[in-house]
Subunit: 512 residues, 2 copies
């Protein structure tokens, strides 16, 4: 075996006692890896090899953090996974508050621009879309019928308008609308209608008898007019054909205004980028998320806004995030969001271990602690400027924590409500995830996926794994791609193919 | 004023001390109504007039039941509504159990048939549809893309197949899949795939890394084969085009089998009718629901299955339902479903008063007690043969209580899972509600609505209000319409127009 070559493994911090196998086919028993480690068994791609003997109860260290403890004696060169690692307790929330908030000094960036649609309120769109919002699911059948008709009959006449979307959702009636948690879905629906890509021309279709009054969905101070709200039960409509005609006429008023929007040069500070990951594997925290984190820092340095989210995927790394809060109030807000979610899960007889999917584990993520440490890499190193609760709009530039569930489609829905105009989505296992309202840049954590899904992935962060490119190089490339996508000069895969997920509301309140 | 004519009002039981105004324009102050009552103010259609002086604290009686107590002194001829009626406490669940379960003797009906698609398992479809189910929302974009492609490219070659539907839903990942309540959405998705209209040829698209394994969605005993489950992450697919090709090929296998299905004569005992009401007004309990209740009794007498649902809309009439249970176990199951829902609402800091919408109140329903008494009329008078929990399949013929939220689209989704093959939906205010999987017969409670929405309403129960037709006559007409729709010889409005709501799952468990 003297010819056995030395294979690369990836360590994320000097003190790590595990390494990650980066090879697409994994590594076979007997393979040498850097140092003096020989694999005692086959280990698949993305999985962890023990770099030292680890007797029962040894702390397993990755990202320089304890991700668990061995549940049996482990020999150097063995495979560590969810079957032989016991998950630690989550960080306590009580004593975590830290009064010293050292923002890292950041050099500001200037000269980076994109071509966007500036709105009267100051926000900037990256698309020009007519949004038909709904106060209640009851109207979805007609809203979708008319949206199709607008697409065929009206859109060809309004060349500057990119599309029309009906905002179907599950809320509006048959819900306990005065329950404390009802505010979350209600403000989500309201704020999605205000997404910068709709040019402040969203119209609302209501039924008439529903609990969620369409007037509640208007912007603060805006008056409900015959131009923005239409009720199907309006007695002036004699049947379906007249209802359709009424909606088409209202749509045309808004299309005329949208058609006057033109792209203009906007500074990168007008970006509002939502970062998310889904279908993660062990590479997500090594390649895609750190690259996204570097790009995130660039956007923040350029004066822009970035949000990261997914409470259950940051909960176990909260002790690393709280010291990055820009002041004590923001630190407390971060802790409060964690505590709210702990209580929400406990009420449903679940806890944070309900995160991590079979796919995560198959991809080498043993538990939520390991997943969280990789997940927060996408937040880069900037100070955390603000925290917004689920369904709220971002109000502060810089890096924001937008508290959301980790569910891809629920997180995306809440980031739309927060005001994002570009979405960056990291994946290791692969998902066709896409949104009709905002472009979604899909970043793969490994080249195996981006090669197989050549027409579904927009950006391959895989070259980082073998050192072919640095995180910094790829971070700049991703930043440039974000600007190009925001300008409309590059189209993302899901927009080329027309692949769009449903929006899914977060409703912790009861149905009736 | 000696020429003032006497106007009709509607009383639902001899002991009622209120009457309902049936006139489309309401009645003006000064109008005489039957007896010696003169209106002291204008009262709108569907609303209640006091038939006697009712000092503060008087029981308000409708349907022979107390629907509340006056909150001030009310003069004979005055308008009673939610502002001057205090809602009573709900019936206690503890002492309600009743050992005597007298089933009313019912004459069996024979000779009523329809033309249906009989399945190997014995169920009968009323449509012949290819269902593409999904294990997780992540795949919805591709599922919808392919469904469109199948509709255009494959369906024209399979003339006996009525359509193809993608079953988009919000579940599958980002959820606490081991939380106790998770069983509800999981079994709902599984059982919808088994709806009789899909001919036991449902296929499932999975992602690969999701928590809800597609294998869990198969019929008990069925093996996952290359013919019924396809994973997008399957490494044999190099990108989008190959995935699409894979799904198209799988779809064609199922279309070939579905295309061999032919309608045959089936007895009315093969009907599984889901009764629901939404957008109710004060007429719903006078016209549409009693007519549906009469038809329900006819179906039960013919050996068929009927379900009524909507826990919060029967909760206040539970003391009238428990004695109708066929035995003590069924009675206890009814009570258990009420208790479960009471606790569920309490956990979300809500109660049954969260039901009744602004539209209900505007239509004359003062509170949930009055609404519930009208709502249960759709269950007719048959004994309650069984109770099924949310997402479960019906297992007993006859009248079933299928426990569901009252939310129209959530109730409809759960009735699809229970196995319904015809849906009957009563409305007073009007809703375009429709489902793609099962025909929905829309019954209006008043002629004003059916005249205005001439192309959206299938059956007008309004003539009952003025005695132009009896409940019995109209019940027989509705029964016949149900058979015609089940046979495919009559198309319902939403199928003619293609108006379909989203399916919305009931998920009382937490997201992660």
């Amino acid at each position: 075996m003297s010819n056995n070559p030395v294979h690369t493994i990836i360590k994320t911090a000097p003190q790590d006692n595990v390494g990650i196998i980066p090879y697409p086919g994994g590594l076979a028993k007997g393979a040498f890896v850097s140092g003096d480690v020989i694999l005692t068994e086959d280990i698949p791609m993305g999985h962890k090899v023990a770099l030292q003997d680890m007797p029962n109860g040894t702390a397993v260290i990755r990202y320089g953090q304890v991700i668990g403890y061995t549940s049996m004696d482990i020999t150097k060169g063995s495979w560590l996974n969810e079957t032989n690692i016991i998950m630690p307790q989550p960080p306590e929330l009580e004593n975590i508050i830290c009064k010293k908030h050292d923002s890292l000094p950041q050099e500001s960036l200037s000269g980076y621009t994109f071509q966007g649609f500036r709105n009267a309120s100051g926000t900037v769109g990256t698309k020009n879309i007519l949004c038909i919002s709904e106060s209640v699911q009851c109207v979805a059948g007609i809203a979708n019928y008319v949206t199709d008709k607008i697409r065929k009959e009206l859109l060809p006449r309004y060349k500057n308008v990119d599309g029309v979307v009906a905002f179907d959702h599950s809320y509006g009636c048959g819900v306990a609308i005065d329950a404390p948690a009802a505010i979350i879905p209600i403000r989500t629906i309201k704020h999605i209608a205000q997404n910068p890509n709709f040019g402040e021309e969203t119209m609302v279709i209501g039924l008439g008898c529903e609990k969620l009054r369409p007037e509640r969905l208007l912007r603060d101070g805006e008056k409900g007019t015959k131009q923005s709200i239409l009720y199907l039960q309006d007695e002036s409509f004699s049947g379906f054909e007249e209802i359709v005609k009424g909606i088409m006429e209202m749509a045309e008023l808004h299309l005329k205004k949208l058609d006057q929007r033109k792209r203009e040069t906007c500074h990168a500070s007008d970006l509002v980028v939502g970062m998310q990951c889904g279908g993660s594997d062990a590479f997500s925290g090594l390649t895609a998320n750190p690259v996204a984190g570097f790009a995130s820092d660039l956007i923040v340095r350029a004066g822009g806004t970035v949000m990261f989210s997914e409470v259950t995927e940051v909960r176990d790394a909260i002790h690393l995030l709280v010291p990055r809060a820009i002041n004590e109030n923001v630190a407390q807000a971060l802790i409060d969001e964690m505590a709210w979610y702990d209580a929400y899960l406990a009420k449903g007889q679940a806890d944070r271990s309900a995160n991590t999917t079979p796919g995560n584990k198959h991809g080498g993520l043993s538990n939520i602690v390991e997943k969280a440490l990789g997940s927060i890499a996408k937040s880069g190193t900037s100070p955390i400027a603000d925290v917004v609760s689920p369904g709220e709009k971002i109000k502060t530039k810089g890096l924001n924590f937008a508290a959301t569930p980790a569910s891809d489609f629920v997180c995306g829905t809440l980031q739309l409500a927060a005001g994002m105009n570009v979405h960056v989505f990291m994946t290791g296992r692969g998902t066709p995830y896409g949104l009709s309202m905002v472009p979604v840049i899909k970043v793969s954590s490994n080249s195996k996926l981006s090669q197989r899904w050549h027409d579904l992935i927009d950006f391959d962060a895989g070259p980082v794994a073998f050192g072919e490119k640095t995180i910094e190089e790829m971070g700049w490339e991703l930043f440039q791609l974000i600007l190009d996508v925001a300008s409309g000069t590059k189209k993302v895969a899901t927009d080329k193919l027309g692949l769009y997920n449903d929006l899914v509301l977060f409703n912790p309140g009861p149905l009736t």
